[in-house]
Every structure is written in structure tokens, then in C-alpha cells.
Point group: C2
Chain length 216, copies 2
């Protein structure tokens, strides 16, 4: 199973790459492939110190898509449209969006695009053969990177493609203590995406850090 | 502390009344005061069987407002506007909204009013001296009513009135195993209200019941 991470040197993408690379073949994409290679070298070193083998390969974003079975779009919402405009080859790939359209005012606010969510915007932009899922929306970059901690969070997954959703849920459940939940079709991804600004506000107003959720 | 529950014989309101009445003086409001009295008689009996004293008083919705320090609007969203149009006397009261604007299609969808949330619609309709908070949005009626179970859920609370918010959080934290979180100003109540349709979908698609959240 090859997972390509578009934006794999960003805050979230790098953390995902580190945590997923002992479990899957990870292709780290970046606008600058040299940067992706630095992330991979650093990642291998961090994981070797922990006695873990990993599979990390740094390339440009397009190569991360071309070489992968599953593509994770680890892109801040504000760069989503401009990044997707430069990329192609999403046909028949499972495309995972952890993207949350939000703005920081005095507090964080969910500000969806006209499509209603980042996931639906991605659906509009990509070819209809792309198998879009939203997942991992609420996991903070620091949690991905805290390799010595397990992350005991719920991960809601939305998709209109049941088989793709099941594959993504299987990936989520391979990561120790993450638990995937079927959250319905892509249409309701807005309700998942708006969790992140809520959690950031909860952290801020209650003096907590990197808050996640569990369903009970 | 007198808490009036508008809609106190509905599914959610009745459960709240039962669970809160050993802790606070509860005034159960209904369009039909006889129905409120039946709820109170039944509630006293249920609680007496469990060896608990309680304070329950059944009246009409207007009297529940007039007699209370804190008013909980336990009204389904679809009846919110028509109910509020018949009521008055909210000035200087703390008004708690657990209301979630949502619709059931094949799945549940968050469908906010033009104001952006039920809380902001209530703010527009009530006099400016009403001290509006949202709270208890995500707790299922069955959980309120399951008096032999503690409910170990997170309760996000939004308000623009810090003192009112603190009072509501104190009430939440008096209920065994509920934990109040400051979720920010009323403006972001939409992100709390949209949790409920998300949780209903999670329950439906993952064969769970009465799902709640915890922040960790």
C-alpha cells in the first residue's frame, strides 16, 4: 500500500509521514523535492532511534500522486485551490482530505467554501473518477509528530465511495489507538471539518493543548 | 437556583427535568400545564424509588420562565420560532439553548437558519437583556432519562456573557460526570450545534446508540 502525501513537508503532512511510515510505504510530496528528501532523511533518523524501520521517499507533489495508491492532501485550506490547479492524475486514486476551511479571528471559525466543505470543493475540482474521502481532520500536527505517544482519538471518515471509505478506515485502524468511524457521505463532511475550529477554541479557552475527540 | 424548562414534557426536556431535579429546583413548563404536572408526578415517583429527593413543579411555559432564574429552551428547532413568539419575560434571565437546527434526509444534516445557528436566532428574537448560552446540545434524550447511568460526556458552552457562561458551566459540572468546556462566544455555537447531526450519523453508521463526545 503506497500512500502519497501532497504537502508532506508541511506541519500536518510531515507528522503524518513520520507516524505512517513504519506501517505503509510513504511518498512525501512537496513543491520542492529537496525539502521532501530532507524530511525523509530526518524521519528515518527519528524512527531508527526508536528501533523502527520505515519506508519514506521524498519527491515533488506530482510524483507523490503518480506513485501512490492513496493520496492524502495535507494542504492548508488557503492553498488548496492553487495547489490542486497545478496537479493531475487523480483518476481512480483514493484521495483523502484532512482539510478544514477555517479562519482565525479572535477565535477560530468554520468558513466553508460555496460548495459547503473542503471535501466538496475537492470533489468539484478533481476528475469524477477520483475516490474522495475526508479523514484525519481533527488530529493536530503536534499529535502526529509526538512519536512516543499513542493518539487515542476518534477519526470520522466521510465518502460517497463505500469501498474507498472502507480502505481508509482500515488504514486509520492500523494506527495504534486511532479508531475510524463511518461518518456518512461526503455531503456531511462539513460537520466533520467544523470540528477542528471547535477543538481549537476548546483548547484555547480551557487551557488545553492539541485537543482531540472520542465518541462514547 | 430555579431552573425553568420550556418544553419540559418533550423528549429532551423531560429527561433534563428528571436528571436535574435532585440537584436544583426545576419548573417544568409545557403548553399544557396538566401534562407538565403528570411529568412531575411521574418524575417524583421515579426518583423516590431511587431514594432521591427532588424538586419538580409543573406549570405552563410562561410560568416556567417567570418563576426561574435560568430558562432552558428544550424545544425542537422546527417549533422554536413559533414557541418563542408566544412567550415573554426573558429580560435578565440566563437562557440556555440546547437546540440543534438539523434535518433528517437519508442521514442527518446541519441546516442552520440565516442567522447561522439556533443560538443566534434566539438572540435575534429575545430582548437584548436576555443572557443567552448554548449548552447540552449533544446529549441524547435517552441519556438524560437513563437515571441509573452516569453520563460521562463533554458539554461545550458558548455565550457572549462571561458571567452567565460561568453559571451554566457550574450547573453542568454539578451533574455527575458531565464536564463543561468553554467553547467561546455565541457566534461559534454553529460548530457546537452541528455536532449533534454528526453524532446521530456516527450512531447510525456504526451501530451505536446515543453517542456523545469527550474531548481529550
Amino acid at each position: 500500500m503506497k500512500i502519497g502525501i501532497v504537502g508532506g513537508t508541511g506541519d500536518i503532512g510531515e507528522g503524518m509521514a513520520l507516524r505512517l511510515s513504519p506501517l505503509f510505504d510513504i511518498i512525501v510530496g512537496s513543491r520542492e523535492p529537496e525539502k521532501a528528501q530532507v524530511t525523509c532523511t530526518m524521519g528515518r533518523e527519528l524512527l531508527r532511534k526508536r528501533g523502527k524501520e520505515c519506508s519514506l521517499n521524498g519527491v515533488d507533489n506530482q510524483a507523490a500522486i503518480d506513485g501512490a495508491d492513496i493520496v492524502i492532501l495535507a494542504i492548508p485550506f488557503k492553498h488548496l485551490v492553487s495547489t490542486l490547479e497545478t496537479l493531475h492524475g487523480f483518476e481512480d486514486k483514493i484521495v483523502v482530505s484532512p482539510v478544514n476551511p477555517m479562519e482565525k479571528q479572535d477565535h477560530f471559525v468554520f468558513v466553508p467554501p460555496v460548495e459547503g466543505s473542503a471535501a466538496l470543493l475537492i470533489k468539484r475540482m478533481l476528475p469524477k473518477e477520483a475516490r474522495i474521502c475526508s479523514a484525519f481532520n481533527t488530529i493536530a500536527a503536534n499529535k502526529w509528530k509526538a512519536l512516543d505517544e499513542e493518539i487515542a482519538f476518534a477519526v470520522p471518515v466521510c465518502s460517497d465511495d463505500d469501498e474507498a471509505k472502507q480502505e481508509v478506515m482500515t488504514i486509520v485502524n492500523r494506527i495504534p489507538r486511532l479508531k475510524a468511524y463511518n461518518a456518512g457521505p461526503l455531503h456531511v463532511s462539513c460537520m466533520v471539518e467544523s470540528l477542528t475550529p471547535l477543538l481549537l477554541n476548546i483548547a484555547r479557552y480551557n487551557k488545553m493543548r492539541d485537543v482531540g475527540i472520542q465518541f462514547i
